[in-house]
């Protein structure tokens, strides 16, 4: 249980930051609205991913699936930040 907890805590946080960052960089909305949308999405996303991590029967699966979600989002982050 602890391993799945840490998977959700760590990767869930990184995924939520990464996805929200992509939203900020992609959507053409004014700055303060975008920051608020990011804030409104980030915490539920983090908690949701934590729940998802708990739904796996093994911790290995949880780390793997979550990493698979994080990877493309992080690549897009890097791409968008370079092109900015």
């Amino acid at each position: 249980m602890w391993s799945r907890t840490f998977a959700g805590l760590l990767l869930g946080l990184l995924i939520s930051i990464s996805v929200v960052l992509n939203l900020n960089l992609l959507l053409p909305i004014k700055e303060d609205s975008m920051l608020l949308i990011g804030l409104l999405c980030a915490f539920p996303m983090w908690a949701g991913i934590q729940v998802w991590a708990y739904s796996f029967t093994s911790s290995k699966k949880a780390w793997l699936k979550l990493a698979l979600v994080l990877a493309p989002s992080a690549v897009l982050n890097a791409l968008l930040l370079v092109l900015r």
Binding site: R4, D32, L35, A42, F43, A47, V51, Y54, S55
Partner: protein, 546 residues
């Protein structure tokens, strides 16, 4: 959802709930009481400083002149003054007092960290007279701080944030687990089955209060863990420049460098009139002064705009010149600023009077009941396991957490209220002593619970003691301060009654639950008596045979 996944999630739901249960109970119980924080503060303080509503004669300049005459105000510290209102006639002034004049530190003091100032809190009458020291009346604020950081310095805020995150996780996983039955079994409450009853109560209150719970989990996270996203935003979007992030979030910094030229603070009444004109329909309740007594000093007038939902406006002036430094004009509708203000209003339930706060209080105490039923179901499940599969210490620990932690929190709170009423108001470090008594009671409850085997009987007795302790508080109020409380009523202030009603409701709840527990334990006692009789009979028979 697959069966295995659902099973894993159900186990995780129970595990997460159990781990955070005691802390979450304290957070929710203290938070529910904190909805009436101002009433609790008034309950404790105002009987000693009963004042009328002569708000119109209030003069900032007269008070500031009085304070500077009596105290050495710390220039680098804060200076906050709450203006009296019709609801809150005694006002408060908070500042830092220099205890070692600047530039007069000796060699020993210069070598180590030096405490050169102390926090002061004075209570004022509406006409500006200093009534007494406010630091002695801090019980309401103690409960509030317990709610948001458990009085753990530095990391308490983040620790509560992490617990809130897991509360959110428990909520979401609970919804997923219960999803198929969420509509069809919405009102289901099987009062006859022991296990079903706990489960149904857990689901019923959980589902009915779901919007409230989600709002509290989310807003709590925003208050306690916002820093995580703040840092990531600042690093990734603003190249590490936090000032730019604050600017985008509608925060305006009007800081002026200190000049070290002493200038007395005067002319605040005149600036107040200018501020009222500039802010329009804003009820100014709070002023703050930066760099008190320095030529660079500025004053900020702040208040809520009653014509709009959850909108706070402010204006800042340079005191010496009267120059306007900042006025909330085009940034009060900044989405982040406005959004955070709405989240705060939702969390504190401060936008619809007492009715909303009473509803939030009931839902908050309901959440405490959800946490309790969750623990009881876990205990029941473990107790039904074969003895070789049971972790005896784990079982005892959870029982102690449930009895000592949950009832202990209510008991310690009741003792805190009693102390806040009976301890002399001029006692040294009065508020700190009350806080220490609270934690001592909680610790003692937990330790006692660990060593008691008959938990159900112990819970029943402990709840009864707690109920009596809670019910005694209104009695003490009327025995100790009857005339002062009546004087408060005459001025139209009923905070004492509100707090007493809240405590009596809690006392009634504790007594009723205790009575139910006594009924539930009676057959067990009877069974034990029968067993004793059987043993006695066997002994008698054995002795007869021998």
């Amino acid at each position: 959802m697959k069966r295995d996944a659902l099973k894993a999630l159900t186990n995780a739901h129970a595990w997460v709930g159990l781990i955070i249960s005691t802390i979450l109970f304290i957070i929710f119980f203290a938070g529910s009481l904190s909805l009436f924080r101002e009433d609790i503060n008034s309950w404790e303080r105002d009987p000693y400083f009963t004042v009328g509503d002569d708000v119109e004669n209030f003069s900032f300049d007269a008070i500031i002149s009085q304070v500077t005459q009596d105290y050495n105000v710390h220039t680098h510290g804060y200076f906050i003054l709450q203006r009296p209102t019709a609801e809150q006639p005694s006002s408060n002034i908070y500042f830092e007092e220099e205890i070692v004049p600047q530039g007069k530190l000796d060699d020993d003091q210069l070598q180590g960290p030096v405490e050169d100032h102390i926090d002061k809190h004075l209570v004022l009458s509406p006409d500006g007279k200093i009534l007494g020291d406010g630091n002695a009346f801090d019980w309401g604020n103690f409960l509030y701080q317990l709610h948001y950081n458990l009085h753990i310095p530095e990391v308490g805020l983040y620790f509560v944030g992490v617990v809130t995150l897991f509360f959110f996780v428990a909520l979401l996983s609970g919804v997923v687990i219960h999803w198929r039955k969420i509509i069809s079994k919405f009102f289901q409450y099987r009062k006859d089955g022991k296990k079903d009853k706990l489960l149904d109560a857990h689901n019923l209150i959980g589902v009915m209060g779901l919007p409230f719970h989600v709002m509290y989990a989310f807003s709590g996270l925003v208050f306690n863990l916002l820093i995580v996203y703040q840092i990531s935003y600042a690093v990734a979007l603003y190249g590490g420049d936090q000032a730019k992030l604050f600017e985008a979030a509608g925060v305006v910094d009007v800081h002026i460098e200190e000049t070290n030229i002493a200038v007395p603070v005067q002319g605040i009444d005149k600036l107040y009139l200018t501020a009222k004109e500039s802010l329009g329909e804003v009820d100014i309740t709070r002023i703050s002064i930066d760099h008190f007594g320095d030529e660079s000093a500025s004053v900020t007038f702040r208040g809520d705009d009653k014509s709009q939902f959850s909108t706070r406006k402010e204006v800042t002036y340079h005191i010496a010149s009267g120059r306007e430094l900042y006025l909330t004009k085009n940034n009060y509708d900044n989405d982040i600023r406005g959004g955070l203000a709405v989240i705060a209003s939702l969390h504190f339930g401060d936008f619809a009077g007492y009715s909303l706060r009473i509803l939030f209080f009931i839902l908050g105490i309901g959440t405490c009941y959800i946490i309790l039923t969750g623990n009881l179901m876990w205990l029941q499940k473990r107790a039904n396991l074969r003895s070789e599969k049971q972790n005896k210490f784990g079982l005892r620990l959870v029982k102690a957490m449930t009895t000592g932690g949950f009832i202990g929190t209510i008991f310690a709170t009741a003792v805190g209220f009693i102390c806040a009423r009976v301890l002399p108001i001029d006692m040294l470090n009065r508020s700190d002593v009350i806080g220490q008594i609270f934690f001592a009671c909680l610790a003692l409850s937990l330790i006692t619970s660990l060593f008691i085997k008959a938990q159900k009987q112990f819970s029943a007795i402990f709840l009864k003691i707690t109920a009596v302790a809670l019910a005694i508080i209104p009695v003490l109020d009327w025995l100790m301060l009857p005339q002062r409380i009546v004087a408060m009523f005459n001025f139209g202030h009923f905070d004492v009654l509100i707090v007493e009603a809240m405590l009596l409701i809690l006392a009634l709840c504790c007594w009723l639950i205790s009575s139910k527990l006594v009924i539930a334990t009676e057959p067990v006692i009877e069974q034990e008596t029968n067993l004793n009789e059987l043993i006695d009979n066997s002994i008698v028979k054995a002795s007869v045979v021998s």
